[in-house]
């Protein structure tokens, strides 16, 4: 469960998020769309405090992460994140990428972490790549490993920051497939993406952001077929 209340974020004089209020319920898949520079990635990065928050509150499972007293490292173990650029650790093998955080943060034994890691690799269809280095993988494979790595911490929430934007077109499908599977299993997800097909098919709710504000939010069918705001209409006419 995520509750964002009056979230504001500025980089110096540049105001990126003006006043964001969102609640994401357990097992809900929320897709965030919008033109580049609309603040959607910054919004996502505020949810696990990769960006410091200028004003407002973000509650994760009831914990206010803007409160200095709350342990952000503990909260982050509950919130997995998948990045546009994968950010796999290039000096570690695929399986070690997945094992590292459970071992160092959760103090899981190497044996258990490996077992869990192989299980997750099987889930994303890459069990045979366990002992290779990330450099030898394709973009789609890298992103699937990154998803497995995030899942290894057994998070309650998964954040996806344009997970398919850096991929060659023919690899987008394999990553979306894994994400669909995850949604089907009931994972709470917030997905920033340009994949409107995915938003329609998997999203429970779509948020359209522009200029640091939420312009419109609705079910995918309503938002795509009958947008209320002119800015939403203008954006959709360009991307659909």
């Amino acid at each position: 469960m995520i509750e964002v209340k009056n979230l504001k974020k500025s980089f110096g004089a540049n105001v990126v998020l003006k006043d964001i209020n969102v609640t994401v319920k357990p097992r809900e898949v929320v897709v965030v769309i919008g033109p580049s520079g609309s603040g959607k990635s910054t919004f996502l990065r505020c949810i696990n405090l990769l960006e410091s928050i200028t004003d407002g509150h973000v509650y994760i499972e009831g914990i206010d992460i803007t409160d200095k007293k709350s342990d952000i490292n503990k909260v982050r173990t509950e919130v997995g994140m998948v990045f546009q650029q994968f950010n796999l650790f290039p000096h570690k093998k695929v399986i070690e990428n997945i094992m590292l955080a459970p071992m160092k943060v959760r103090n899981v034994t190497a044996e258990q972490a490996r077992k869990k890691g192989l299980e997750l690799l099987r889930k994303v269809g890459l069990e045979d790549k366990a002992e290779t280095y990330p450099d030898s993988l394709s973009g789609g494979q890298k992103q699937r490993v990154a998803i497995a790595r995030a899942l290894a911490m057994e998070p309650k929430i998964m954040l996806f920051d344009e997970p398919t934007s850096a991929l060659d077109p023919e690899m987008v499908g394999e990553v979306l497939e894994v994400m669909k599977q995850l949604a089907k299993e009931g994972m709470t997800m917030v997905v920033v993406t340009h994949e409107m097909g995915f938003a329609k098919e998997v999203g429970d709710r779509v948020i359209f952001m522009d200029g640091g504000l939420i312009v419109e939010e609705n079910t995918p069918n309503q938002l795509f077929d009958d947008p209320k705001e002119s800015r939403t209409k203008a954006f959709l006419s360009k991307v659909l």
Binding site: R76, T77, G80, F83, V105, D135, A150
Partner: protein, 218 residues
């Protein structure tokens, strides 16, 4: 030029002793300089300008002045200030360490800052602390990139240890100068010293390139 092998044979044990001290001075300089350099490099990276300023000043001073001046100051002024007497070996180790630390600090800083910030973000997003992320994710990658410039610095350090001969530390160059003084010969002592320095630096390059290959991930 006719080489007088007999005086070379006579000085061989001294060259051997000198070489061992040169290796000792260099290793001490590398070791202390690396540890000191890591702290100074991390110090200079601190976000607070007041805290990082002294580290920047240290680097500026030691990189901006000749090592010959530094070793003279340390030998004749700094060491006597603390011990009441001069000690060539102590002065040499101190100068080599302090001087190389300034360069190594910059190598560390450049190495750490060259790692994509997505690596830190990915590690932190998994719940690792800043220290854990540094230790398991950033530093291992940065270290690999630091090997070539560190190798350069270590080679420079071996060569600059020859300045210790000017403060009477009986290392390789000291015995070369002694041999010239005794027999008024120049080719024999200095070609010998040059060859030994070359062997030392080549061995070090070899070890470092082996290390670099072992850390390669492809």
């Amino acid at each position: 030029m006719d080489i007088q092998w007999n005086i070379l044979a006579e000085y061989a044990p001294f060259f051997l002793k000198g070489t061992l001290l040169t290796i000792g001075l260099s290793l001490a300089g590398i070791l202390i300089g690396t540890i000191l350099g890591l702290f100074i490099g991390l110090g200079k990276m601190m976000k607070n300008k007041w805290l990082s300023f002294p580290f920047g000043l240290y680097i500026t001073l030691f990189r901006g002045t000749p090592m010959l001046v530094q070793i003279m100051l340390i030998h004749f002024a700094v060491v006597p200030l603390f011990t009441g007497g001069t000690n060539g070996i102590a002065a040499a180790i101190l100068t080599l360490s302090l001087n190389s630390a300034a360069y190594i600090a910059e190598i560390f800083r450049a190495g750490i800052q060259s790692i994509d910030k997505g690596q830190m973000e990915a590690a932190r997003s998994l719940g690792m602390t800043h220290v854990q992320a540094m230790r398991y994710v950033i530093l291992p990658q940065a270290f690999k990139r630091m090997i070539p410039p560190l190798g350069n610095e270590f080679i420079v350090l071996i060569k600059e240890s020859s300045l210790a001969s000017l403060v009477a530390a009986p290392e390789l160059m000291y015995w070369g100068r002694a041999m010239q003084g005794q027999y008024f010969r120049v080719w024999e002592p200095y070609i010998t010293a040059a060859l030994i320095y070359l062997i030392l630096t080549l061995s070090l390059s070899y070890v470092l390139s082996r290390l670099e290959r072992r850390l390669a991930t492809e």
